[in-house]
Symmetry: C2
Subunit: 312 residues, 2 copies
C-alpha cells in the first residue's frame, strides 16, 4: 500500500506516473483542501479536481489545470453578463462543482463526495481530502495593492492577483478544529511507502501538516516517507513556491525544502541539477536520491515514480 | 406608466406583446419569486428568468422556458457524473444563476441583481422581484408518492413530480415576514394601468398577493387593474392551473378566477371561448372584455396587449 500527499499540478503529474507503474487500487492519495473556495455559490476543490482529472486521464496537459477538450460556454456567457470571471470555470469542470455542492448541501461529507466523483470518472485510486472540515489558507500580503485587504483568501492571491504580490505570512484557518478525514491516519499508519509529491511545501503540503494528527502520524513512519523536491536549481517548476519560501524565511532550494521535511521524511528525491546539495541535505539526517525529476511527459513521470518506489 | 404582475411563461408572452406596443421604459413588472429554488448551491429564480429572457427576445419559444439556441454541456457532464438533473439547466442559463448567486453572496439584494441582469441582457423594462426577502411556495400533496414528504418545495411538485400528483394545500413560507421589494408599492400607486398577466392564479399570482401590502395596494387601485384570464374553456393553456384551482376548492374556469380577482381587479379579459361566462362574471362587479387570448405568436401577443391597454 502506498500513500501520497498531494497538492495540485505537480502531484497530479507524479500520481499519473505512480499509477502507471503500480496498481492504482493500492494507492491512497491525501489531498490538500486549503485552496478550496466558494465562488458563485459553488464549492470548488481545485487540488482534488486536478488530481482526479489527472488520474482519470482527462486532465488538460497544455494548461496544467482543468479538463482536456474543455469548452467555455458558461464562462463566456457570464463574462457577457458582467460577472466575475477571474477564476476560470470550464463547462465540464462546472459539472464537478455543481455535483459537489449539491451533495454537500444534502449532507454528504467531502470524503464521500470526493470518492463518488472519483468513481464516476473511473479513478481506481482512493482519493481522500486531508479533512472533511473546512481548512482555508489565508495569505497576509506584505504590501497590499490599493483596494485589497491585508489578508486575502488563497485563490485571491494565487489566481486573482496572479501570485505576483509579496507575502508576509500564511495561516490555515480552521486547521485547529479540523480532524483528518476518515482513513487518512489509518492509511499512513499501514503504508509500505508514503510519497510526498513535488507540491508547494508551504501552501500545498503545509495545510495537510496543519491538520492535527497528520504530522505526528508521518513522524512515526519517517523511515517510509519519501519526498520529491518541488524546487529544482533554486526555482519552482511552476507557481510561486520559490518566492513564497523566501518570503516566509526559508531557503528557496531543495536544501530549504529538506530542512522543512527532515522531521518526518527520511528520504528526499532531488533533481540532478541539485547534486551539489547532497552533502548539506544528508547532514540533516535525510538520505538523498538524485534523479531526473522534470515530468515533461507521462513516460518521465512514470520513470520518476519508479525512482520514488525504489527510494527507501 | 404600466405595472404588470407576472408569473412565468404566460406572463412572459404577454409582456413581450406589451413592450411591442408601448415604450418598454414605461413598464414595471413585478415578478413572482415563490418558485425560486437553490439547486447545486445556485440561486435560481425561474419566473424572473423567463420574463427577462422573453423581454430580451432570447427566450426559447419552442420549449417555453430557457434560452434560445441553448447548449447542454454542463448538464450532460453532470448526468455522466450521476448528478441530479431533474431541473434542466442550460449552459447560458447557468451563467445567469452563477451571476445571481455570486452577487447575492456579495450582499446585493435580489432587486439589484435582477436589475443588473436585465440591463446586461438589454431589457429596458423595469423588473422587480415581488420581494427581496425569500418567500417559498410549499405544496402539501394529497397523496404523497412513496418516499415523498407530505409537503414539498414548489419545483419538486412542478418539475420533479411533473405536477402530476394531487395537491391538498399551498402555503407561502416567509410571506408574513417579507416586504414588497423597493419600488413595488410606489409603482402600483402611480400606475395608469396595472395588468395581471395570464399566470397561474394560485402559484404565480398567489405568492405576489401574499406579500403584505401588495394586495391592499391593488385594492386601492382596483379601477385601474385589468386581469387576463389564464383559463380558457375550463383549461389552463399550459401547466396545472386548472387542476390546482379545482384541488384547492375553486372553479377551474374564467369565472372561478374572476371570483379570486374581483376584490382588486375591476376589469377581466376573457377568451372568446368563454363569452357565455360574461353575465356571471359581471354579476361579481367585474367588467368583462372578450377577446382572442391565445398568444400563439408575437403578433397575437401584441394584439392581446392592445386589448388590455384599451380595457379599463
Amino acid at each position: 500500500m502506498l500513500v501520497a500527499l498531494a497538492g495540485g499540478v505537480g502531484a497530479a503529474k507524479l500520481l499519473a506516473g505512480v499509477t502507471a507503474v503500480v496498481d492504482p487500487a493500492e494507492v491512497t492519495t491525501v489531498v490538500n483542501t486549503g485552496d478550496d473556495l466558494v465562488l458563485h455559490g459553488l464549492m470548488i476543490s481545485p487540488d482534488i479536481d486536478s488530481v482526479t482529472y489527472a488520474l482519470a486521464g482527462t486532465d488538460n496537459t497544455e494548461t496544467g489545470w482543468g479538463i482536456a477538450g474543455e469548452t467555455w460556454t458558461v464562462a463566456e456567457s457570464l463574462r457577457a453578463l458582467g460577472g466575475s470571471t477571474w477564476f476560470q470555470l470550464g463547462d465540464r469542470d462546472l459539472a464537478t462543482h455543481l455535483y459537489r455542492t449539491q451533495r454537500l448541501a444534502e449532507g454528504a461529507s467531502l470524503s464521500r463526495v470526493t470518492a463518488e466523483l472519483a468513481v464516476a470518472r473511473g479513478v481506481r485510486t482512493t482519493l481522500l481530502p486531508m479533512s472533511d472540515q473546512p481548512v482555508r489558507t489565508r495569505v497576509t500580503l506584505a504590501d497590499p495593492p490599493l483596494g485589497e485587504s491585508p489578508e486575502v483568501a488563497f485563490q485571491d492571491y494565487f489566481v486573482r492577483l496572479h501570485h505576483e504580490v509579496p507575502v508576509r505570512a500564511l495561516r490555515f484557518d480552521g486547521a485547529d478544529e479540523a480532524r483528518p478525514a476518515p482513513g487518512v491516519l489509518e492509511a499512513i499508519g499501514a503504508a509500505d511507502l508514503v510519497v510526498c509529491c513535488p507540491s508547494n511545501p508551504v501552501v500545498s503540503i503545509g495545510p495537510i501538516l496543519a491538520v492535527p494528527g497528520i504530522r505526528t502520524a508521518l513522524e512515526a513512519r519517517r523511515d517510509r516517507v519519501v519526498a520529491v523536491s518541488p524546487i529544482v536549481a533554486g526555482a519552482a517548476i511552476r507557481g510561486p513556491a520559490d518566492r513564497l519560501l523566501r518570503e516566509l524565511g526559508h531557503e528557496a532550494s531543495a536544501l530549504g525544502v529538506a530542512r522543512l521535511y527532515a522531521p518526518w521524511a527520511a528520504t528526499f528525491v532531488i533533481d540532478e541539477a541539485d547534486g551539489g546539495l547532497v552533502p548539506a541535505i544528508e547532514a540533516l539526517g535525510v538520505r538523498c536520491v538524485v534523479a531526473p525529476t522534470l515530468m515533461t511527459d507521462r513516460a518521465r513521470a512514470a520513470a520518476l515514480a519508479k525512482v520514488v518506489l525504489d527510494a527507501p
